[in-house]
Each structure stands twice: as C-alpha cells, then as structure tokens.
C-alpha cells in the first residue's frame, strides 16, 4: 500500500511539473495559436540562472537571476514570435520556437558545459506525509502547482481576462477595435508563461539535477498533455498532465516481472498513450464536436 501511495506521490510531483509547462503552453496558444516549444529551454535557462545566482551570492540573488532570465527570454520570445516572424501560420511558429529552444540549449551547453549541476548539495531534505515521502522541492512543486492550476482555471474560464486572451488569437484586429491593446496582452502572456516555465525549471532542477537539455522531454510531455486534454480546454490540460505521468509510472512499476520496464520506457509510454487517446478522441479527452467553418 505504501509503495502504491509512493507511486501516486511521485506521479503527482512529475504531473505538476508537466502541468506548469502545459499551462504556459496553453496560455501562449490561447493568445497566439503558436506551440511555443522553447518554453522547456527557457525553463532550463532559468534553472541555470538560479544556479549562477547561488554561485555568486544567496538564494535571493538566485531568485533574482532566474526572474531576470525568465523576463528576458519571455520578452525575446514575444519579439521573435509576434514581431519578427509575421506570418500567422502556427506550425511555422512551432519551427521558429523549436529553433529558439535549441539555440538556448546550445548556448547553455557552451557557457556551462554539458555536465550536470546540482542546485542542492548533498541529500535532498525529505518530508514524510503519512508514510509517503516527498522531497522538499517536490512539496513546493505540489503547493505552487495547486495554486497555479486553480488560478489558471478560474482566470481563463470565469473572468473577462480569460475571454480577452482567447479573443486576441481569434481576431486581433477586432480586439484592437474594441480599445484593447492586444500587443500588450500578448507580451504579458509571453512573459508570464516564461516565469511559470522558469518556476518549473528551478523546481525540477532542485529535485534532480541541471543539464542543458533537461527541459525538452518535459516540454514534449507538456505538449502532448495539451493536445490530449484538448488544446482549448484548460480542465482537460490539467487532467491530461497527471494522466500522462500516472499511467507510465504505474506501467513501469507494476508491469509483470517478465516485462522489466525501466524509466527509459517513460517517453515511449507517453507517446503510445497519446497515440491511443488521440486516435479515439482527436480533439482531446473532453472534446465536444464543433462545426467546422
């Protein structure tokens, strides 16, 4: 029973990390219809910013560094994807974002080298909750993730801000004609998404270690969660983020002994799951049929 609960706990932490990135992807997709794959690299960059801040001074310096990195890359993403790249074909935007992400990872590898770095030296502090063990960064992840998911759900679905976000990507000229500065909204969303990605970058790095391409796997999982959940449905994104962490975790730990699934099978399971779900529900698990115009 304890083992079962521990699996759930680990999946919850991983699922929350995926959720952070999926929410960031969701927000950007909501305003500009682009799949901003570079968010994973931005998360990694913020992790390295935090690391650099720790090397120089204190935790406060580290937080400041990672915030500056998040703001900078958020703004750069906005400039690149909204201003420099003018075509509104979202799939080309994906290519631009992917290139940006790879560039960021290459730069990180050049500056910091490819070897892994630790944000917390020694053994991670453990919190025991009724026999289930969480690392301290894991607890922070869950707490912040819960608040963030709730806030995002309420904001997007229940407030005028959410309506405005969605209308900006549909028809930005119309939004402007209503007196709303749609560029300012997009810029804010890019920066906020980068900050959210940065949070997961730092927390994930605390939980494991920092490597230049640690963000890519997480981004792809988040990406898949976004589509499996239904890219226009935040509730679906939240559920899918946890499903895509829980099911592979169970498969790896509870498969019959003849199968011997290791952690390296994780992405394979995520991909297979996505294939199965999207084949039956092409628009996501909570999708409704809509009229194509």
């Amino acid at each position: 029973m304890e083992f079962f609960l521990q699996i759930i706990a680990n999946s919850l932490v991983l699922g929350t990390q995926v959720l952070f990135l999926a929410l960031s992807l969701y927000l950007i997709k909501a305003v500009s219809k682009i799949e901003h794959v570079a968010l994973g690299a931005i998360a990694t960059a913020c992790g390295y910013g935090f690391y650099q801040g720790l090397l120089i001074g204190s935790n406060v310096m580290a937080l400041l560094f990672s915030l500056v990195v998040a703001f900078t890359f958020g703004y750069l993403s906005f400039l690149l994807l909204e201003k420099f790249y003018k075509n509104k074909e979202p799939l080309l935007g994906l290519i631009v974002s992917l290139s940006m992400g790879l560039l960021i990872e290459a730069m990180i590898a050049i500056v910091f080298k490819s070897s892994s770095k630790s944000l917390i030296e020694g053994i991670l502090p453990i919190v025991d909750v009724m026999g289930v063990k969480f690392t301290l960064p894991g607890v922070y992840t869950l707490a912040i993730g819960f608040v963030l998911a709730l806030a995002a759900f309420v904001l997007v679905n229940k407030t005028p801000i959410g309506r405005t976000l969605r209308s900006v990507s549909e028809n930005s000229s119309l939004v402007s004609s209503l007196g709303i500065n749609q560029l300012k909204i997009r810029k804010s969303v890019y920066i906020i998404s980068s900050v959210i990605a940065g949070i997961v970058g730092v927390l994930a790095a605390m939980n494991t270690s920092l490597t230049p391409n640690m963000g890519f796997n997480l981004t792809i999982t988040a990406f898949i969660a976004l589509f499996v959940g239904g890219s226009s449905d935040i509730k679906g994104t939240i559920v899918a983020s946890f499903l895509l962490s829980l099911i592979p975790e169970f498969l790896i730990n509870y498969a019959p002994s003849s199968f011997e699934f290791t952690n390296s099978y994780r992405m394979f399971f995520v991909f297979a799951l996505a294939l199965i779900i999207l084949s039956f529900k092409p628009r996501g698990i909570f999708s409704k049929n809509i009229r194509q115009s």
Partner: protein
C-alpha cells in the same frame, strides 16, 4: 417524355453539433434544369450543398446522384458519380497557373494515364480542351499566370471553366456573384447558361442576388431556418409575399 432525375434528395436532415442545420428537405432536380436556392444568411444553404457533395455528414435522409444513392460515398467518389462543385470562397488553386488548374479538371474527367504529359497525342488533346475553355471565358491571355493574380470575378470565370471541363453532369454552384463586379456578372450569367444549354449540365445554384438568379433558373427553392419554405417558378416565388417577409422582414 419523362426527364431523367439527376439529383434526388429525400427527407434530408443534417445536424452539426447540437444544432439541426437542415431539416426534412426533399427535392428533385431533372436533367438539364437550372434550380436556384435562396434564403437568408445562416439558413443552411451551403451546409445543404456540403451534405450533397459529402463534406457534411447526413443525419437521416437520402441523396441520390444519377440514380445512385451516395450517402456512404466520400466526396471524391461522389465527384466520380458525376457531381462537380463550386465553392463560396472559389474552388481554384491560386498557386497554380490557369492552365494547371484546368489540366487538373481535365485529368480527372478524361481519366488520363499518369504518363500522359509525355505522350504528344494526349498533350495535344488536353491543350486543345484547355485553350478552348479559357477562350470561352476570355482568360486565354492569362493561361500561364498564377491564378492568384486574377480578380474575384475572373476567378469565378475560371471556376466556371473548370466545372465545364469536368465530366460531371450535375453542378453545384455556391454564390457565384459574391465579390464580382456588375460587368462580369453578365459574363458569369452567360457562362452558366452555356453550361446548361450548350453542354447539357444540370445546375443547382445558391445565390443572394435574386435578379441575377431569377434570370437564369427554371425553378427556385427557398430555405428558411434549414427547412424548405417554398418552391416554384421564379415569377411565382418573386411575387410571393412570404419571400419578401423572409428577406425584408
């Protein structure tokens, strides 16, 4: 002599999402007829065409083209049964030349072999057909230009030329005068008349320009809220008070 039924629709229902777009529409179009479909915006005219041509799923009801039930056929298979379609947003490939656009219609119509462009016999036949079709719509001089450079009206004429070259005997034309100047409208009307009188096509047209439509068609069907509101000859429909209510309130 009884005329051959080209298009038969029985109790058609089309539902998209939670909304019933077309409800219980029955209609029969005979060989050589030009039938017009009118109705206010959002009454389901284009969805009706989509259901006939296979681009919208049919809930219940039957669609037969040239005597064959086509409910379970894909759009491309329905096209092979003798149906050709014009689109509201012009079904022309703007990144291809006018010649290439018409060649695509001819290839499907004549079922040419894949290697036909290497055979001078086939090439000559295709060239002749394409040149004649372009000449008929006064677009021969733009033969090697990309279709994207044409005006809205010229694109419509190109679409008419394409429909002419298809071997379809049933044409569905969706709002042909949308975005077309008054001058070109006359040319368009002549083009449609030629398709019917000279080439024997059976035509169903959706149109908002009632004057344009009534000068062309044998019969008019009025759709309101997805249902068939009335049907009759142009003069009858034109004088009917109910039509005026529908359009002008």
């Amino acid at each position: 002599m009884t005329k051959k039924s080209i298009l038969k629709i029985e109790n058609l229902h089309v539902q998209l999402g939670q909304r019933m777009i077309n409800q219980d529409i029955s209609l029969e179009v005979f060989d050589g007829e030009i039938v017009g479909i009118v109705g206010p915006n959002g009454c389901g005219k284009t969805t009706f065409f989509n259901a006939i041509s296979g681009f919208a799923p049919i809930d219940t009801g039957l669609v037969s083209i040239n005597g064959l039930e086509v409910n379970n056929l894909s759009p491309s298979k329905r096209a092979k049964q003798g149906l050709a379609r014009g689109f509201q947003n012009v079904g022309v490939f703007k990144e291809m030349t006018l010649e290439e656009n018409l060649i695509m219609a001819v290839e499907n119509a004549l079922e040419l072999p894949m290697y036909w462009m290497f055979s001078s016999k086939h090439k000559q036949k295709v060239d002749k057909l394409v040149n004649k079709a372009l000449k008929d719509v006064e677009l021969l001089e733009h033969k090697n230009s990309l279709a994207g450079v044409l005006s809205g009206g010229q694109l419509r004429l190109l679409e008419m030329a394409k429909l002419n070259l298809s071997n379809a005997n049933l044409l569905l034309i969706d709002e042909p005068t949308a975005g077309v100047s008054p001058v070109l409208r006359n040319q368009l009307a002549d083009s449609i008349k030629q398709l019917s009188q000279k080439h024997g096509k059976t035509i169903v047209i959706i149109e908002h320009d009632l004057k344009f439509l009534f000068s062309l068609v044998d019969r008019v069907i009025v759709l309101v809220d997805g249902k068939k509101y009335m049907e009759g000859k142009p003069k009858e429909v034109q004088n009917d008070k109910r039509l005026k209510e529908v359009y002008f309130g």
